[in-house]
Symmetry: C2
Subunit: 331 residues, 2 copies
């Protein structure tokens, strides 16, 4: 308990200093927050050592990622990030000093960019693996971007590039098995993206202010997350797979191999990019916003009426849906 209080005090000292709309932050029975009449968006994710991250990950990278996955959810709703709560379950007896300092450094590196303040949390000891739960809160300045918001005729777009994190994970697993992965120029970029994904909260909130109504983030894999949209909106989709944006080094490695393409860009997880859908009239404005924000934005297909299913075209040919869709959340 004394240790728990000390840890909370350290997190409060390093991370919990006020912030926009914070009437009362860490240090009372709850935080008091001002949404100024805007709808609130709440999202939460738990990451488990050995399942969602390697148990030997650096504390700074872990902090970044555990916040990033939640910022990505806020982005996918179109919310402006505001506040976060942090629940840490630390293996009993784990040394706290450096680990906490590094965790705070990684957290703050992303939190300060996203404008998010830590306003609460809890720390407990566990006999099991390390767990990090983050709950992120944001506000909406326009409509929420919902999985159910897609309409036939909408374009489908994605931010950034897809598949990098999946291939980085594959190579990391090879290394850990003592195998020698192929030397690929540019692969260090993917590893960085796997460890420190950069969620698209800026474009997400701009899409909401623009009046768009549909988005999801790419966390389980592009086809799985697009599938959530199709199911919730009761629509089909045509995807032109050659328009899926790829890092040049990843494109070189895939080298027009369908199986490699599916395994990375179409079903690989942990990209934390956005899938956005919207009416043709709004495309030029969104494109302009993306350009101004320095975010790559690619149209990859079109929403179809219900009953049309998910159609994957590649170089003019319709392709078979892979039997195993989506990303399994396990290392």
């Amino acid at each position: 308990m004394a240790e728990e209080f000390a840890l909370i005090a350290e997190l409060q000292r390093r991370l919990g200093q006020g912030g926009s709309g914070v009437q009362t932050g860490i240090g009372d029975d709850g935080a008091v927050l001002e949404t100024q009449g805007m709808p609130l968006v709440a999202s939460t994710d738990t990451l488990v050592a050995g399942r969602h991250f390697f148990a030997d990950v650096g504390a700074a990278d872990l902090a970044w990622k555990s916040l990033a996955v939640n910022l990505s959810d806020l982005a996918a709703m179109g919310a402006v990030p505001r506040w976060a709560l942090l629940n840490l379950a630390l293996p009993a007896g784990m040394a706290h000093g450096d680990w906490v300092a590094n965790f705070c450094e990684g957290w703050q590196a992303l939190a300060s960019r996203a404008g998010i303040s830590l306003v609460g949390g809890d720390t407990v000891a566990t006999d099991g693996p390390l767990l990090v739960t983050v709950t992120a809160l944001g506000v909406l300045q326009g409509p929420a971007l919902l999985r159910s918001g897609a309409m036939p005729g909408d374009w489908i777009a994605v931010t950034g590039t897809l598949g990098d994190a999946a291939l980085a994970l594959e190579r990391q697993l090879q290394l850990r098995r003592g195998e020698d992965p192929e030397v690929l120029p540019g692969a260090e970029d993917w590893e960085k993206r796997r460890l420190r994904p950069w969620p698209r909260w800026e474009l997400g909130q701009q899409a909401s202010r623009l009046g768009l109504r549909c988005a999801a983030d790419v966390s389980d894999g592009f086809l799985a997350d697009l599938g959530h949209i199709l199911q919730a909106s009761d629509v089909g989709a045509r995807i032109l797979v050659e328009h899926i944006p790829l890092h040049p080094a990843l494109a070189a490695w895939i080298d027009e191999d369908w199986e490699r393409l599916v395994r990375t860009a179409l079903t690989g997880g942990d990209d934390y990019e956005l899938i956005l859908c919207g009416p043709p009239a709004r495309w030029p404005q969104l494109q302009e916003l993306a350009r101004a924000a320095g975010v790559q934005l690619s149209q990859v297909g079109e929403i179809l009426p219900a009953g049309q299913g998910l159609q994957l075209y590649w170089h003019g040919q319709q392709q078979q849906l892979p039997s195993r869709l989506g990303h399994v959340h396990a290392l």
Copy 2:
């Protein structure tokens, strides 16, 4: 992953059906919630099997308690309970069917009374013990009740009775060690209170609407939680220990023994009652509200100016502060 989706779907079906101010609940990247301009209160707690609850606890009791501890925090802030997020880390391979159904039953029994809707969460598998994290969100219809809100001259009051859960835990530990606890009439009430604490969200929000400014909940033990108020408000306090409200059966067991009194009512944890402080002019109104709500409310002392420390009087004599203050969060 398939199992995770199935579990989420079951929680959504059983618990996540709309609710007040819920624009979008479970099933998207985040929940969209309407606070209608009222300040938001957010609180979160993690409970770990073998530390905060016995690993063999029934799922219904566990659900009740994990929600209750957070409702108690909302009550201590004066908030009206609205929404909750639930993060479950379940031991890998744990059978889900009955456990989830029972968990939902216990959750809903309390959530429906408190008017709180489940709007999000996450479920993960762990190789360690079961963990439950609940994040509770509420809104304020008056000032927040802060630990820093006490003023010299304020009365100090507590709801309900103190020490029941601590003695119930002590007896439960005796049983589990194979010892035969004393037969005490009324002890089954304490065990029920230990398993299913009933937080004071109703009186908490009424105190806020009445314009009170100070409260804390009794979770770590009366003296520890009062200590938080004294520290945050920079004040002292005089407590008339004979006015601390006791269950008649507990009073009979304590039998005017100072050590027993300290160990249960003064430093025992998990009562989830409220400590409230306020000016004399507001006492009759709060008393009236408590009476109408059927909540026992007892004045137990007075806030003193800074530098006066914490003074414990018992039958007219000042008593020594016990050297070990507060409740250690460990079975």
